[in-house]
């Protein structure tokens, strides 16, 4: 099922912070990981991913570092900052609350 880009835009920070809370990743790995973990439901584009990563970096929630990847090429690895870790926890709580409330509305008759 294709997901509306507006839905995705609203939740991309949570998605990225959550993915990075499990360890540092570079752009291409993030796309692959999101796609794999969501059974291809999240197939978002580079045009959404990279600006969102740069926005989080500007907010100080993630930091980036160029390092050599397993394939021997230089890649820009992103990881969470302490501020990002706190934001990730807060966003996850908000999301649980929101989806719970939304589910209650959608399931009510």
């Amino acid at each position: 099922m294709e997901i509306d880009t507006q839905f995705l835009k609203g939740s991309i920070s949570l998605l990225l912070l959550h993915l990075l809370s499990r360890g540092e990743l570079y752009g291409y790995e993030i796309l692959q990981e999101a796609s794999r973990r969501s059974a291809n439901a999240f197939d978002f584009k580079e045009g959404t991913l990279y600006p969102a990563l740069h926005q989080l970096e500007k907010k100080g929630q993630i930091k980036a570092e160029w390092r050599t990847a397993e394939n021997g090429r230089k890649r820009k690895y992103y990881s969470l900052t302490p501020k990002g870790k706190k934001t990730a926890v807060a966003y996850e709580r908000q999301w649980q609350h929101l989806t719970g409330a939304m589910a209650a509305i959608l399931e009510s008759k």
Partner: protein
Amino acid sequence: MRKADELIHDVVTYAQIPSARRRREIQRELTAHIEDFVDAARDAGHEEQEIELLLMAHFGDARQVAEGFLHVYRYERRTFLVFAYALSTLLIASSLLMAILGIQTGLAFGFGTPISELLASKHTVVQALDIVAFVAVYLGLTLLETQFERCRFQKAAIMLAAIGAVLTMSCRAMGFHPAFLFYGLITGLFFRAVRLFIPAEVARVGIVLVCFVLAGFSFALLRSPVSLVDLFVTCASWLALGMGYLLMSRLAPRVDAAVLDRLQRI
């Protein structure tokens, strides 16, 4: 892959990121991403041409990708534009002032008017402020025009007039009468309108010639008594001013673009 290189180039260009270091980094990051994409597609058994098509389809339109970056770096871009605008204004205004003072000094010298009277007078300070205000308004108009899709000049003029009114009122509240702001606004709007709505350069020169000689004539007559030489020098001085402004209206956008380009490389 030429198309991939073009795509990255387009993204970085449209994104208008002010810092050269940041642009290089985005370019490097997107190149790395494309390398991974191509490797994965090759491993999956796709042909080169097919990979290129897949890449274009996945990446989407360069402008759309750039829009994301444009939004992220909007504040840096605005700060950068204001800085470039201030620098261009100072650069152009000081060059114009030097040129006009040079011509006026030549005229004064030719007609036997003491040069010290011209250069060390309050008039020179007023003229310098007028020129800075004129250049600031002219460049401000060209900058604001880029922010609108339709009726660009009209909207930019209204915005600048509003800014000018607020500045004038603020200055007056502090007991200072900034006549140069009003002068800058009028001359800036006049020359921008001449540049935009009069297509032939000869006609522009003609209009400026008539308007500035008449202005010089009127100002000379305000002083009494006025000699014929004084009248001629004042008219010639105003004409030099007008021609300097007209030349500036032609060169300013180029100088501004060059300043912007230089700053973007830093």
